[in-house]
């Protein structure tokens, strides 16, 4: 993976830049020595590494404003970072950039149950929002698998999804307002505390902009009433294709389960080792189907789903009977990526979206590619949304294995585009899929997107090596 060229003169002024940041921030808010910077050289996509110039850890919006003004004045690039769980390398540093870590801005500022919203700082973890409101029977709907650790600022920047987005939509559908600090250090209030915002859909623009338009300092999310109850069902199938056909049949029937998740055999085994959820170890593919509502609603929907599944000759079907059973089922699913660490030292987690009718075909072709490349693949994904997550297993201590994995990943994403889908589902483009953007978009479509970045950030200082092929950064400069 090619890194952008450092800006002339910045590396030479490193000591000066660090001293300047120390002068405007509290003690231990600036990290500038090479030993301490090392753990910041990568994020959830650990195959890519780059040491940053420095790391700053602001505690307040005023700190963020000061950092942005300083970096803008000195022409220093800025890379925002939340929990560092990005699977597309969204927080990968640049040699001449300051990483701005938002994890100290982790306060919940306001909760309003009457109007159903919560105002939080960007460093609040996704799950902490639900934890803060669940005693009042509310929840925040988008639930990325890394929800325990990932932070809402990163969720907004990547427009994250999650298992339950089939019913509730992704981050963009659950946001009401944002505060961002521009590269000039100006504060913009976008959206508000209710649904409608006048004029352009600014909120939509900022959501998923991967830290390229400004730094988030406040996020207002919609919170929802918790359902009366929910139950998960496990259905095991004899092959990936049959399970894929079953997913399409469920969605086509008009049923919208709250979640419809897919795991193939390698994933089933790895997750069972971690979560002891009672997944069927003899099945080639497993669907986790969750329904919610009153007891009657749940039973009716489960009965219909069982009938549909039955037509695909499942090797096993089981409905969870207790809250503990459901918790174990979800623990396995949510920990799935990490759990693959039990069967392979490294993996690349791909993230593409396809029409659900293409599932059987695409899964078959991924398997063929896997044989061709000689690399194993585990499939764990949000099947209801057609959001694939093939995990390509490789050995990072073997350079050839890594290069093969990268090529295999690119082929999968190209396949997604070919069948009418998209390069990204919920992980963002980051550094990982930057060069594939030209497969998805025409040159003029890309140009128009770059002009939007330039309107917010004329000098391309904010996370500039991500999202677009590097030629975009070069042209802007």
């Amino acid at each position: 993976m090619q890194q952008a060229k450092p800006k002339p003169g910045i590396l030479d002024k490193r000591a000066e830049i660090i001293a300047g940041l120390q002068a405007i921030l509290p003690e231990r808010a600036v990290i500038g020595d090479n030993i301490s910077l090392k753990p910041y050289e990568t994020d959830g996509l650990s195959a890519y590494k780059q040491m940053p110039l420095a790391v700053v850890l602001p505690e307040t919006e005023a700190h963020v404003v000061a950092i942005m003004k300083f970096c803008n004045l000195h022409g220093v690039r800025v890379i925002p970072r939340g929990a560092g769980t990005s699977l597309s390398g969204g927080a990968l540093p640049m040699a001449d950039a300051v990483v701005i870590g938002m994890m100290r801005m982790n306060k919940i500022l306001d909760i309003n149950y009457a109007d159903r919203y919560a105002v939080v700082q960007p460093g609040v973890t996704n799950i902490a929002i639900t934890q803060a409101v669940q005693d009042e029977q509310f929840f925040y709907a988008p639930d990325p698998s890394s929800q325990l650790a990932c932070m809402i600022g990163g969720n907004v920047s990547m427009n994250s999804g999650g298992a339950h987005c089939l019913k509730y939509g992704v981050t963009a559908n659950n946001l009401l307002g944002l505060r961002i600090v521009t590269i000039e250090g100006e504060i913009l209030e976008i959206g508000g505390k209710q649904m409608d915002a006048a004029g352009y859909d600014w909120l939509g623009l900022i959501t998923g902009s991967e830290g390229q338009l400004g730094i988030l300092t406040e996020v207002t999310v919609r919170i929802l009433r918790s359902p009366e109850g929910a139950r998960a069902m496990l259905a095991g199938f004899a092959s990936n294709e049959v399970a894929g056909q079953c997913v399409d049949a469920i969605i086509s029937s008009g049923i919208i389960p709250v979640a419809l998740e897919f795991m193939d055999k390698p994933a089933i085994h790895a997750c069972e080792d971690f979560a002891h959820a009672g997944y069927p170890l003899d099945a080639e593919a497993l669907l986790i189907i969750e329904v919610e509502g009153s007891e009657t609603e749940q039973s009716e929907m489960l009965a219909r789903i069982r009938d549909i599944c039955a037509a695909y000759h499942p090797v096993s079907m089981r409905v969870s009977q207790t809250a503990e059973e459901s918790a174990a089922i979800w623990k396995g699913r949510k920990g799935a990526f990490g759990a693959v660490g039990r069967i392979s030292p490294d993996y690349l987690c791909m993230d593409g979206t396809i029409p659900t009718s293409e599932l059987p075909n695409v899964l078959k072709r991924i398997q063929a590619m896997s044989d061709e490349y000689g690399l194993k693949v585990a499939n764990i994904f949000h099947a209801g949304d057609g959001n694939l997550h093939p995990l390509i297993m490789f050995d990072a201590n073997d350079a050839e294995s890594f290069h093969k994995a990268e090529a295999f990943g690119a082929d999968i994403l190209k396949l997604c585009v070919e069948v009418g889908g998209c390069l990204t589902g919920e992980h963002g483009v980051g550094i990982e899929k930057r060069d594939l953007m030209s497969v998805q978009f025409t040159p003029s479509e890309l140009d128009q997107q770059r002009r939007i970045k330039s309107a917010f950030d004329p000098a391309w200082l904010l996370n500039p090596s991500k999202v677009f092929p590097l030629s975009g950064l070069a042209a802007a400069e």
């Binding site: 959830g44 990490g338 759990a339």
Partner: protein
Amino acid sequence: MQTNFTAAQLEKPEIAVANNILRTCVHCGMCTATCPTFVTIGDELDSPRGRIYLIKDMLENDRAASQEEVLHLDRCLSCLSCMTTCPSGVDYMHLVDHARVHVNETYQRPLTDRLLRGVLAQILPYPKRMRAALNLARLAKPFAFLLPGESMLIKRMRAMLNLAPAKMPAPQSLGGTVHKAIGRHNGRVALLAGCAQQAIGPSINTATIELLNRLGIEVVIPEAAGCCGALVHHMGRHDEALEAAKRNVNAWSDGAEYDAIIVNTSGCGTVLKDYGFMLRDDAMAAKAAAVSAKTMDISEYLLKIYEPTSVPPDITVAYHAACSLQHGQKITAAPKTLLRKAGFKVVEPKDPHLCCGSAGTYNIMQPDIAASLRRRKLDTLKAKSPDVIAAGNIGCLTQLAGDGIPTVHMVELLNWMAGGPKPAALNGV
């Protein structure tokens, strides 16, 4: 995760072990969320993933530990919450243990730091010295406010004085004693009497022995067994830790047959269960593994045999899960099941996975972080309006004491409901 060790480096057994552990980590970052120091400080370097990365870089480059690495490794509580969270099964405990040995061998700490560590290592593992030190501390405690300044040393001195109990319990010396079962004979166990525990919490051992005897279990405390070695182990004082481990393994393998080796200080239990690994390359490896396999926390052992005999009072017990129990030994349900069986109403604080800040000598060495974690834990415990806080580890009980709610070891409550005396701490409840 990728590692960069040379073939020559990998020939060293301890580097090979570290490499295998590092290769399990996929750098997903889940562990950060449940790490008490990351939650408190908000810096990747004070998270498990950050520490793993610091250790990786230090070992790969075969570099002496620097001030920065030591700062962040010292701040690790070894609560092992990260190991409960980790989906990939990264063996953080053995990695950080190894890193501490590396720090101890390659880093020269400032003089005051060295002296304090030396003093703690010379006092805490020895009940008599500990008792003498506590008596001195008790006398000095009223004057703690006179200690000038806010330097780390002064804060550590104050933290030490604050840990001294207001009243000194009667001395306890259990080494070499045998306590016969009452009425029936259902089994025979060895009990680790603990070191600091005999000095500051003798009622815990008394309650344990009484309860086991009444349940028909003979309790033996071999003369030769002593401190488990956890304290020096966590300081990276490898040789002293192994010496303690060997002494205990021998004491419990002298031919006497025990059904189990019982531990009622869960911090020690985690280390006993690790003797097999610690002595894996020693001639005693098999004996050590057998001792580890036989080690049981008192709550694990009681689960099958405990029977309450008294009518329970209307008391709400907040169960505080010691990290060594919930993360180190993965014992989560047994203590609560037992307390409920005894008839108590059991409540739990929010974020039960977070450490209270006790962590061996951590509350002395890292007084600021420990105080912040203590406050957080007490606030979440008190939010449940308990009459008493119960835990399975003396360190936690000392850390959480002195804030208006009595703290007792859960075995004292269980003994009370099985015919034993009401715990003294509960007088007035």
